[in-house]
């Protein structure tokens, strides 16, 4: 059970695709085996309280698959159902998958598309995120890779952004946004002067895939196509390594350096200029190839410090 339409894969946009379409186009054909699929109707027990419709998979698809012949575990969030937010069932599926990865040391690919905690079941969602982080770090500590793919409509916000920050590799497209506080939340709490949530250009240059790639918040920058995400995932799976204290000591140094370098900048364009990129204002307009050329030699890289 994969893609819905007859859209040829090369015309499929990752940003637009559903979670099932992305997953189907990412893994080796016919290898995906879903665990607790929609036919089991394990839906949220809480949405009914708010008179909201359930989705049969609760917006989270998990299972086993292969990429390039390599067995992996995989999870995909549906960003259009409840904004891809973490609820009790949704989160527990990913928790279970990551706990298994720790036992089997199998690599995990997570297709993020989330606004964070599902507020209608906020306590369950917040806890699910905490459990996922613990399971994820556990899996990485024994050498499993956890690769995050970010390029969906909902971005990767709130607790989802923190989970992404725990992954071994992050792959993002231009559309991919990564953050903790979403623009609406900042505007509501701090006022429109702090963040104008209607200024989409501001949102993307502050939180979007290009900025994250330039400051080392994402490792690979790809086109908005499943084939590009697949290629990058294959590359990332080969990297190996486990998460330990030395990784985190290196990350501490990396994050301190970022703070020291860019602490005084107020806008992404200033950050890019400080990186030494000429014509930083043009960065948002660049197509993938030109952008990668402009970034090369200037961007901060996370490498092993993640």
């Amino acid at each position: 059970m994969t893609a819905a339409g007859r859209i040829p894969a090369e015309r499929l946009s990752w940003y637009e695709a559903t979670a099932r379409q992305r997953l189907g186009a990412l893994v080796d054909p016919g290898t995906f085996v879903e665990i607790i699929g929609p036919e089991e109707r394990e839906t949220s027990p809480h949405l009914g309280i708010f008179d909201l419709p359930a989705q049969f998979d609760d917006g989270m698809i998990v299972g086993r698959a292969a990429i390039g012949g390599r067995a992996i575990l995989i999870a995909a969030q549906e960003g259009r159902f409840m904004g891809g937010a973490f609820g009790e069932v949704h989160g527990a599926k990913l928790t279970g998958l990551l706990r298994a990865a720790r036992m089997s040391r199998r690599d995990v690919v997570v297709l993020f598309d989330t606004g964070g905690v599902r507020l209608q079941e906020a306590n369950a969602g917040e806890l699910a995120i905490a459990e996922i982080i613990r399971a994820l770090v556990g899996a990485r500590s024994v050498g499993a890779q956890v690769i995050g793919l970010i390029g969906g409509r909902a971005g990767c916000y709130g607790g989802g952004g923190v989970i992404a920050g725990c992954c071994s590799t992050l792959i993002a497209s231009e559309h991919g946004r990564i953050g903790v506080s979403g623009p609406d939340v900042i505007e509501t709490n701090m006022g429109v002067e702090e963040f104008d949530a209607r200024d989409r250009a501001l949102i993307w240059r502050t939180m979007g895939g290009k900025h994250r790639y330039l400051i080392g918040g994402a490792d690979l920058f790809v086109d908005d196509r499943p084939a590009a995400f697949r290629e990058a995932t294959l590359a990332a799976l080969g990297r190996g390594g486990s998460l330990g204290l030395d990784t985190l000591v290196a990350e501490q140094a990396r994050l301190e350096r970022r703070l020291a370098r860019f602490s005084d900048e107020t806008d992404a364009i200033e950050v890019w200029a400080a990186l030494g990129i000429g014509n930083a204002e043009a960065i948002p307009e660049l197509a993938t190839r030109e952008f990668l050329l402009a970034a090369a030699g200037h961007r901060e890289s996370a490498d092993e410090a993640r």
Binding site: E16, H175, R200, L202, I203, A287
Partner: protein
């Protein structure tokens, strides 16, 4: 004494009175209100320039700030009621009577002011109609207009948004009226002269550009599968058989979908060069892929579109451009072209009744017309015998011998059977009629009259009203494409099937279109970024349309 020069004398008096607020023709913004007290008299007909795009916003604000004791009972004759200030003048008693065409964002408030008796309504016109009445019986005494820059002699540069300015100035300045222009800058030399300085009496340097609304920008990301399906049906079921080459598209996602399907689906059908070559159209960003693919020979524009300036300037073979390189738009000419020179108008609507009248009015909002009724009407003065026009005429009136038969303009209304908030497209009675009764209007605000409509298209099919014989057939043809709306479910299935046999109703399958193929991947651009890339980086959408 001369009894024949009273208007020019009165103008000279006003100019003299205002002289103390001006250095030459230039008035400083801080004395603008006092200046207006000198040049506007109670009861004047006044035009504040503004349509659905550009706005003389600084002058509108100043007029709303005048003293109602000194300036009152004005008769506003203007295309657009767009800015809050356009209605503030009625609230404050500065103005009393109104003739206008279009009121997008103010459509709710205008309805309330009408109901409260604050506005005496002349008429809700079409753009072309109001501009025409400027030279017959609604000639302004004062026109408050907007341009990009001016020199000290008053020569105006309007940039790409020339729009209605030449017509307003012509009607005012040559008939004893007074023209005041707001400009962002007064410069030594203007890049091109759009309005000669001797037609302009005063200038206000505001230091910032006039407001323009990006009204014609549609984000391809918001186009639905159903809109793709309808666009496929329109291209294969209307553009192809009639060979429509000269046309206008209304605003909306339905027409945006058609534009984005031309290079892909239209190309697969082998239609390049055979349809959609000549346009009366604003620079729609969604037309970029078709232009780049070589579909479009020529476009004349009513106005410009925010962000399209550089793209248009780089495609002078397609667009009308001036010696400065930028677009020259002209609303009056383009509306005339839409009325007379186009074989088809196609646009979205909100409500259609069972005769085929359509309207965009809702009980609490009077949006006005803009230009749609001009585009969406069959001009009886037309004599140009194009194939599409003749074919439509033949379908409507097969009995009359060909040399004596009028052609017909193709007027197509598109809509999804259920619109926003699941409101049905087809209704027993238009809300426009109710509104007219409630406000005592002599005429219900009908956008396109039934006898002008030739086709209605929904996701259920195309209804060809040209082929219908009698009111019954029209009604069943419309019910037949009304899907699961109440009126659709009450159709006469036998009669509808008969209409389908005669090709009056065309379902997707009758056109060889499988709704399952109606996929967004057919769109030549699926995001704003795709449009930017298609334009080679020349199109620069406003920030609110970006996701990068």
């Amino acid at each position: 004494m001369s009894g024949w020069n009273a208007q020019n004398d009165a103008r000279a008096e006003r100019i003299a009175a205002a002289g103390r607020y001006a250095a030459g023709k230039v008035v400083a913004p801080d004395v603008l209100v006092d200046f207006l007290h000198c040049v506007i008299r109670p009861g004047d007909r006044v035009c504040i320039e503004g349509d659905n795009q550009k706005q003389a916003d600084a002058l509108a604000a100043a007029l709303a700030a005048v003293d109602p004791a000194r300036v009152r009972d004005l008769h506003m004759v203007q295309s657009g009621i767009i800015l809050p200030e356009h209605l503030d003048v009625f609230d404050k008693g500065i103005a009393r009577r109104l003739d206008y065409s279009f009121s997008g964002p103010q459509s709710g408030r205008i309805a309330r002011l009408l109901a409260a008796g604050k506005i005496e309504l002349g008429a809700i016109h079409t753009y072309l109609e109001l501009l025409a009445r400027y030279v017959i019986d609604l000639t302004p005494q004062v026109a408050l207009i907007a341009a990009v820059s001016a020199d000290r002699q008053g020569n105006l540069y309007t940039g790409p948004n020339t729009e209605s300015t030449p017509t307003i100035v012509e009607a005012t300045s040559f008939k004893g009226g007074l023209v005041v222009a707001q400009v962002a800058q007064v410069v030594e030399r203007v890049p091109r002269v759009d309005i000669p300085g001797d037609q302009v009496h005063f200038l206000v340097e505001t230091g910032k550009p006039f407001h323009v609304e990006p009204l014609f920008t549609r984000d391809p990301a918001a186009i639905t599968e159903t809109q793709v399906l309808i666009a496929m049906m329109v291209i294969k079921g209307l553009y192809m058989p009639y060979g429509v080459r000269r046309l206008n598209h209304g605003i909306g996602f339905n027409t945006a979908a058609i534009e984005l399907l031309l290079p892909t689906y239209g190309g697969q059908l082998g239609l390049k060069g055979r349809i959609c070559t000549h346009w009366a159209l604003n620079p729609h960003p969604t037309l970029i892929p078709a232009i780049e693919a070589g579909w479009v020979e020529q476009i004349h524009c009513f106005g410009s579109e925010v962000g399209m300036e550089d793209y248009v300037a780089a495609r002078p073979d397609v667009f009308f451009t001036g010696p400065d390189g930028s677009l020259r738009s002209n609303r009056t000419l383009c509306q005339t072209a839409g009325l007379y020179a186009c074989d088809m108008f196609i646009g979205s609507t909100l409500q259609i009744d069972l005769q085929g009248h359509s309207s965009t009015v809702t009980p609490s909002r009077i949006a006005g017309f803009g230009g749609a009724p001009n585009m969406g009407s069959d001009p009886h003065g037309r004599r140009h015998a194009s194939d599409a026009w003749l074919e439509a005429g033949a379908q409507a009136d097969p009995a009359t011998p060909a040399p004596m038969r009028r052609g017909r303009k193709l007027v197509v209304q598109i809509g999804e059977t259920f619109g926003e908030r699941n409101q049905p497209l087809f209704v027993e009675r238009l809300e426009a009629v109710e509104l007219a009764e409630r406000l005592g209007l002599k005429l219900a605000p009908i956008m396109v009259y039934a006898d002008d409509v030739t086709h209605v298209v929904t996701e259920e099919g195309i209804a060809n009203l040209l082929l219908c014989r009698g009111a019954d057939e029209r009604e069943q043809a419309l019910r037949g494409i009304a899907g699961y709306t109440g009126l659709g479910r009450q159709r006469d299935p036998k009669m509808v099937e008969g209409l389908r046999q005669r090709g009056i109703i065309l379902r997707p399958e009758d056109l060889g279109i499988d709704p399952l193929d109606a996929d967004r991947s057919l769109l030549a651009a699926r995001s704003m970024k795709d449009l930017v890339l298609a334009s080679g980086g020349l199109y620069r959408p406003p920030g609110r349309f970006r996701n990068w």
